[in-house]
């Protein structure tokens, strides 16, 4: 089974063009959808999750026409929205069991077992009798994960799932996902490069509604191997470096600035070769202001992205 998205475009009534001819083929396994806030990730997720219709384009999940046979999609879908709430006056166990019934798990015994297993998996078993309204953000997020896994979904869509999780929870969740994702399609939408780097076998980078780049993360990293260079400079030197080089990223370190630049050759001996990672791929891709998606070629450009630490803060505003 694979999910194929063909030439999907969407313009909101306020004129924002959220998707612009997106074409993607997503096989089983973990698929990372990477992009900055407002890039159209959430719109794409919601489109696949039958929550909204595109203006143009088609999407098929195996034989199912996603846009027309919504109910068929919903029967095999697990969905964790980017931002969600719950009925506040209901306990975790009650609501999960309720959702299980709505997901077609009609056998009461089965329902009881799956609810218990999921609550244990996401570490909510001890708080199962507490009202959901009293849950903190991370706890609530774990509940969201549990409900997305109900009913053995064939297509799991998780939109910014690690936001709000602490590092331990995050890695436990990613493990859980990749365990389940062996045989089903899991689409992980995120702006955190590490999420994708850690668990995704395939990915796409999206910006301004367009897919800038697709493929396997490792191949993308390999493509820039030997072309990324680093150097520690003074902060006031930065403008000069930016003018002369293609700076991918800068990072403050002990009052000094570490710059990564992208160049086919070592710019000068003061630069050391840097081992490229997915972040470099991401920033290089994003820094292209325009151009067609291309799996392996890399385009120099002037813009760059600054982060202060590996993962940038804040969350998407694609609502």
């Amino acid at each position: 089974m694979q999910l194929s998205i063909e030439n999907v475009s969407k313009t909101y009534s306020n004129g924002v063009r959220a998707l612009d001819g997106v074409t993607l083929t997503i096989p089983t396994g973990m698929f990372g959808l990477l992009g900055p806030n407002g890039s159209g990730k959430t719109t794409l997720m919601r489109t696949i999750a039958t929550l909204q219709d595109p203006d143009e384009g088609e999407a098929y999940l195996g034989e199912i026409n996603v846009l027309k046979e919504k109910d068929a999609v919903r029967r095999v879908l697990g969905y964790l929205p980017q931002d969600f709430g719950v009925y506040p006056n209901v306990t975790a166990q009650t609501l999960l069991s309720h959702l299980a019934a709505l997901k077609g798990i009609t056998n009461a015994g089965e329902r009881k077992d799956v609810v218990e297993a999921l609550l244990r998996r996401v570490n909510l078993w001890d708080v199962r009798t507490q009202k959901l309204g009293s849950f903190s953000g991370g706890t609530k997020q774990r509940f969201g994960i549990a409900q997305a896994l109900l009913g053995n979904p064939q297509l799991i869509i998780v939109d910014e799932p690690t936001a709000g999780l602490d590092p331990e929870e995050r890695s436990r969740f990613l493990n859980l996902l990749s365990e389940i994702g062996e045989n089903v399609i899991v689409i992980l939408s995120t702006h955190i490069v590490d999420d994708v780097a850690e668990v995704c076998s395939r990915m796409a980078i999206i910006k301004e509604g367009r897919v800038l780049r697709g493929g396997e993360p490792q191949r993308a990293i390999d493509a820039i191997r030997g072309k990324t260079w680093k150097k520690v400079i003074d902060k006031n030197e930065l403008p000069q470096y930016e003018a002369e080089h293609h700076v991918i990223s800068t990072r403050l370190r002990a009052g000094r600035t570490l710059v990564h630049v992208f160049a086919d050759e070592r710019p000068d001996p003061s630069f050391d070769e840097a081992a490229p990672d997915l972040k470099d791929v991401y920033f290089i891709t994003l820094s292209r202001s325009n151009g067609a998606p291309d799996e392996d070629s890399v385009f120099p450009a002037n813009a760059h992205v600054t982060t202060t630490d590996g993962s940038s803060g804040g969350k998407g505003n694609g609502r």
Binding site: Y12, S13, R46, A49, T50, L51, Q52, D53, K68, D71, R74, R75, L77, Y79, P81, F84, G85, V86, Y87, P88, N89, V90, T94, H98, L99, A100, A101, L102, K103, G104, I105, T106, N107, E110, R111, D113, V114, A117, L119, R120, R121, N123, L124, W125, D126, V127, Q130, K131, G133, S134, F135, S136, G138, T139, Q147, L149, G151, N152, D166, R319
Partner: protein, 1190 residues
């Protein structure tokens, strides 16, 4: 700083359309209140000016309550708005002080509301100047009442409501709680209104009404038309107490809020939540590696059912556990219990289940609508409000499941509310020792007959919420739809086919159950059910399951969802809607005439225009009536054959016979088939026959006729409740044709007459009008002979006036033959029902009570009253002319008792179910029975002419007679309590007068005069001149006029007997009590006591006495007097409060103004005063007696 916040708030509000919408609405509201008859409703019938100061103040006070809607919208949200928009943190970070912030916000929103509501005052002033209004009903413009009303009612009420709502919303941070506070205030207001019904709790009601409307009503309760047109309530007494009290409450709330409010941001995550998180952070190792078991989702019809059931359950839980719901349910029950208790106390009835059910439906109407409307919004928007809609929308659930679940949940909520209410009233019943709970009546009354209506409202609300962009918009759209429907009758769309969710009114009767009301209700419910189903299908198509609810996408999605099955469902619903509508139309408009109120008055006007010309045209008089009546109760059909003998009692030949009949019935005159029909107006029921041979003076004509009263199918409104399955009751007016123009069919109300271009009409002929004095009960007959043979179904008993001569069964039907052994006036009932009969006797008079088997409560008391009445009347007035007295119960569709010769039908509600066990309560059963028995003398022996004062003879004397029987039974102290109520009801009645108040001797069928003032005047006369003197005069009067042929007696003849019996020194009473409207303002200003030294006590009284004459509008003029007025001194009240023994009670001759009186009594006095027993009419009876001070 305050000014900045205030300016900001005003600026914000005045940029929003809501203020202007409110302004326009209140302007329209005010304008219509004066200019529209609909708004004026019952009021336009009275003689008070449309724009009287009384009405200006009253209307603006009511409108100020409507202003609460704006308060809820603006004031309650003033602070919460910041929080919702998330800008409160910004505000709190600025140096604005708490006082400035709260004060500015509150003042700004209050000012905006006040301005919007004040538009009503401007509109009322403008409307008063409209040239199209009836100028006779207007007074000149005066700004004072407007300013008064704005200052005394509008501003304080808005301030109070604003303060409470602002405080609740601000402190709880939830606007919903503010709405609950609003409902609580309205509940208090309604409870206060309940208290106004009872003379003893009125004062309390006038205090506890937060809006002061009841204190206004209390202060103006005895106002006459003249006062209403000129006066304002003085700021004193309970009125000012109410205003000050509630304004202080409002200020108190503001102060409390100010002290409790913190300009800080409160973290909303509860402690519980953090603990929950902590527990989760410490995972149980055991569960970590457990694999998630495989499940097998199944999607069949069973799944859909499960999904629906599960979703319904969680929705119900959502409503039932929400605090506002619980508060409203509690409020509703508090109101229900107070209401039901005061209803039981007020009517002094047994707490019957039907009374409880009608209390529940009455009280819960408002709350059910509110709960359904509010929670339709809450449920439809529940997932979106919780942020759960994305998860919920992508569940593999058919589109109809959430729609159906939310509707089912609302239905369940309404059932829960009504069930809780039923438990509350069952508790009342059990507490009252009433164990006959009639669960079937609860079940059908609450959940079968009434519940379709709530389900339909819920369906509409859900469908509307599915389309509207916001919860609050949906709420107001539904409210607007329901309110608009209320107006439909005014624009000629009053048919229930036009009024969503409405059905013809249903009246439950213990005797007749739900009777014939069930069928129309069932059909209308099905009809509206189909429309609701169609709405719900459409709602399903457009149900939001998307994060991008732009119209274009929703239409596309709706087309996609419109499957064959749904298209079929929609088609079935619409076809069903049209088909049942057609069937209903066939029943209400084809099988039966559809007669809205305006059509009825049009027909009345047409009758008058066409045939009034024949009024007074000589016609033969009916002298003998023989009826053959076949009643088919189960079909609600009556067939009448009648043989009438008509005699020309005039001295000229009669050439034309005019027959005036009820047009909805089928009439035929086979014996006149040979005569020429000059005119046959079937529209209004008027025929003219030209007699081939004129009827010569003294000659007789036999007329045979048939009449069918057939009730096929069902009607839209005003169903025939005279012919029903159990408890048929109609009179001669229904089954005997009228010869000549029947003047009684004319429109009485002057405003309606003017609207139809009819000339003004006298309410009654002048007391000495010689033509009018020729007729009494009816113009076409005098004394008649009467016999009737009536058949009815096997299980029923049929009764009419007269003696039962024969009873037999034939063809499975029961037949009864009755004959009256002496002439009676043409006035008899025909009754049939499944009766139990209680029999007793008095001398040779048979007493029979025909009653519903379950209503045996007071049958014994009725028999006693009949016996004691016969005792008194035969001993003091004249012999009883008949050999039987029968009382018959009929269903409560009509609520009176009526005394026909020998036969007295009583409504179920007229104390058949009254609870007279408590001697503290007035025994209404005993009293009403005595009154009706007295009519056998005053109406059937002494027959009054149809002129002014006729009801003084018939009703006031029946009241007097009943009072005397009661006095013998209960003693004189008891009468004081009875007369207090009579005085209250007389004084209350004066303000509702439509034309003008008449003196008793010229009373024009005005109930508050001939019953209430009649009791007071006759009892006062009896007290001054003595029982025997009054009775001797009445005996002499009966001797003179009983059973007389026309001309019939008038009130002047009665009065001359009473005058003769009155000694010279009390002669002025005849003028005061009967010939004029005379009131006293008696008051004791000081009462002191000192011991005389020989163990006795000297009481000194300073008294002020004034005597007033009022004209027909209530304008009073003081006249000097030197009248005999009672002065009394009373001892300490004993436990036995009923027996109030005076230490001194004598009539003193007192001059107008101040007097000093000294009285020496033997025992220690406690209270003393002037006219302590309220023999004289006094508008302030409360100041007549005072405790004496040492």
């Amino acid at each position: 700083m305050f000014r900045d916040v205030l300016r900001f708030e005003l600026h914000y509000l005045f940029r929003r359309p809501a203020v202007y919408v409110g302004l326009v609405l209140f302007f329209l509201f005010g304008f219509m209140a004066i200019a529209s008859d609909t708004f004026q409703s019952g009021r336009f019938l009275t003689a008070t000016a449309r724009n009287s100061p009384y009405d200006i103040v009253r209307l603006l006070a009511s409108i100020s309550v409507a202003g609460l809607v704006l308060i809820a919208g603006f004031v309650a949200t003033a602070v919460n708005r910041d929080r919702e928009l998330g800008v409160h943190e910004l505000f709190f970070a600025t140096p604005v002080s708490k006082s400035a912030y709260l004060g500015g916000r509150f003042a700004g929103s209050l000012i905006a509301t006040f301005l919007a509501v004040s538009a009503a005052a401007a509109a009322m002033a403008l409307a008063s100047a409209m040239p199209f209004l009836d100028q006779e009903r207007l007074v000149a413009f005066d700004a004072v009442p407007y300013v008064y009303a704005l200052g005394v009612f509008v501003l304080p009420n808005l301030l109070l409501a604003g303060a409470i709502l602002f405080s609740v919303a601000t402190l709880t941070r939830r606007v919903l709680f503010a709405y609950v506070a609003l409902v609580a205030m309205i509940a208090l207001w309604i409870i206060a209104r309940r208290f106004m019904g009872d003379i003893d709790s009125r004062w309390l009601g006038s205090i506890i009404d937060p809006f002061g409307i009841m204190s206004f009503r209390y202060a103006t309760r005895y106002w006459t038309v003249a006062e209403r047109n000129t006066a304002l309530v003085p700021l004193s007494g309970s009125f000012i107490l109410n205003r000050v009290l509630w304004t202080s409450v409002g200020v108190g709330f503001l102060v409390f809020t100010w002290t409790r409010f913190r300009m800080t941001v409160v973290e909303t995550v509860s402690r519980l939540g953090r603990r929950g998180g902590a527990a989760g952070d410490d995972p149980g190792e055991a569960g970590r590696a457990q694999p998630v078991p495989m499940t097998t989702p199944i999607f069949t019809a069973r799944t859909w059912f499960l999904q629906w059931a599960k979703q319904t359950r969680i929705e119900i839980g959502g409503v039932l556990t929400s605090v506002p719901f619980m508060v409203m349910l509690l409020l509703a029950n508090v109101m229900l219990v107070t209401g039901a208790l005061s209803e039981v106390a007020g009517t002094r009835s047994y707490p019957l289940t039907r009374i409880m059910v009608s209390e529940i439906t009455g009280t819960f109407e408002l709350f059910l609508v509110l709960v359904l409307l509010i929670y339709a919004g809450q449920l439809v928007w529940r997932e979106r409000a919780a942020g759960m809609h994305e998860i919920h929308s992508v569940l593999p659930v058919p589109d109809w499941v959430p729609v159906a679940a939310k509707l089912s949940a609302l239905a369940a909520v309404s059932v829960v509310m009504l069930a809780v209410a039923a438990l509350a009233t069952i508790a009342i019943q059990l507490a009252g020792g009433h164990v006959d709970l009639e669960p079937g009546v609860y079940l059908r009354g609450l959940f079968v007959v009434g519940n379709a209506h709530w389900l339909l409202i819920a369906a509409l609300a859900i469908a509307v919420q599915a389309f509207t962009p916001k919860k609050i918009v949906g709420f107001f759209v539904v409210l607007a739809v329901l309110e608009t429907l209320e107006w439909f009758p005014e624009i000629g769309l009053g048919h229930h086919l036009n009024l969503y969710s409405s059905t013809p009114e249903v009246v439950y009767s213990d005797m007749n159950g739900f009777g014939h009301f069930v069928r129309p209700i069932a059909w209308f419910s099905v009809y509206w059910g189909f429309l609701a189903a169609a709405l719900l299908v459409v709602a399903t198509l457009f149900w939001v399951r998307t994060t991008d609810p732009a119209p274009r996408g929703r239409w596309r999605e709706a087309r996609r969802r419109l499957t064959r099955a749904r298209m079929a469902a929609l088609a079935v619903a619409l076809v069903g809607f049209v088909a049942t509508g057609a069937w209903i139309f066939y029943n209400t408009n084809v099988l039966n005439p559809y007669l809205p109120e305006k059509e009825i008055s049009r027909l009345q006007a047409a009758t008058e225009e066409r045939y009034k010309q024949y009024e007074g045209l000589p016609q033969p008089h009916v002298t003998d009536i023989a009826l053959y009546v076949d009643i088919y109760p189960e079909e609600r059909r009556v067939e009448v054959r009648g043989d009438l003998r008509l005699v020309n009692k005039t001295d000229a030949p009669i050439e034309e016979l005019h027959v005036h009949t009820e047009p909805v019935l089928e009439w035929d005159f086979p014996s006149l088939a040979g005569e020429t029909v000059v005119l046959d107006d079937t529209e209004v029921g008027f025929r003219i026959y030209r007699l081939a041979e004129p009827l010569l003076p003294g000659e007789a004509l036999n007329v045979a006729y048939t009449m069918s009263d057939v009730n096929d199918g069902f009607v839209n409104h005003d169903s025939n409740t005279k012919v029903v399955e159990n408890g048929t009751f109609f009179s001669n007016f229904h089954c005997v044709p009228h010869f000549g123009y029947a003047v009684d069919t004319e429109i009485e109300d002057p405003t309606v007459r003017r609207r139809h271009g009819l000339p003004p009409r006298d309410r009654m002929a002048a007391v000495d009008d010689p033509v009018a004095r020729m007729s009494a009960f009816d113009v076409d007959s005098d004394w008649i002979t009467y016999e009737a043979t009536i058949s009815t179904s096997e299980d029923q008993i049929a009764v009419t006036a007269g003696y039962l001569e024969r009873e037999w069964s034939e063809d499975g039907r029961r037949h009864f033959r009755y004959r009256m052994d002496r002439p009676i006036q043409k006035f008899f009932p025909i009754v049939s029902g499944r009766y139990e009969v209680a029999r007793d006797s008095w001398n040779d008079v048979a007493i029979e009570i025909f009653h519903h088997p379950r209503h045996a409560y007071n049958v014994g008391r009725m028999i006693e009253s009949v016996q004691k009445s016969l005792d008194y009347f035969t001993a003091n007035f004249s012999p009883y002319q008949h050999r039987q007295v029968r009382i018959l119960e009929f269903p409560r569709y009509r609520t009176f008792a009526q005394s026909f010769p020998t036969t007295i039908p009583y409504s179920e509600d007229a104390h058949f179910v009254g609870d007279v066990r408590d001697p503290e309560n007035l025994d209404m059963v005993f009293y009403i029975t005595a009154h009706e028995v007295a009519h056998q003398w005053w109406a059937h022996q002494v027959v009054a002419a149809r002129v002014q004062g006729s009801t003084f003879i018939e009703e006031s004397l029946a009241q007097y007679s009943a009072l005397m029987v009661m006095e013998k039974e209960f003693g004189r102290d008891y009468m004081k309590r009875f007369l207090e109520h009579e005085l209250d009801r007389y004084l209350l009645g004066r303000g509702g007068e439509r034309h003008e108040e008449m003196p008793l001797v010229l009373v024009e069928d005005q109930g508050y005069i001939h019953y209430r003032k009649g009791s007071l005047a006759m009892y006062a006369l009896r007290d001054y001149i003595g029982e025997e003197a009054v009775n001797a005069a009445l005996r002499a009067y009966i001797d003179e006029v009983a059973f007389q042929e026309p001309p019939y007696t008038n009130s002047l003849e009665l009065l001359s007997h009473l005058r003769e019996a009155t000694p010279e020194r009390y002669r002025y009473l005849i003028e005061d009590l009967f010939e004029t409207i005379t009131l006293y303002d008696n008051r004791v200003e000081e009462a002191t006591v000192e011991e005389t030294g020989d163990g006795r006590y000297r009481v000194r009284l300073a008294i002020d006495s004034r005597k007033l004459r009022a004209d027909g509008k209530g304008v009073e003029t003081e006249i000097p007097h030197a009248d005999w007025i009672e002065v009394g001194v009373y001892g300490e009240e004993t436990d036995d409060a009923v027996d109030e023994r005076p230490l001194y009670l004598e009539k003193h001759r007192l001059a107008s103004g101040n007097s000093e009186i000294e009285i020496v009594v033997d025992e220690k006095p406690a209270r003393a005063g002037i006219d302590p027993r309220h023999l004289l009419i006094d508008r302030e009876p409360g100041d007549n007696v005072k405790p004496v001070s040492g």
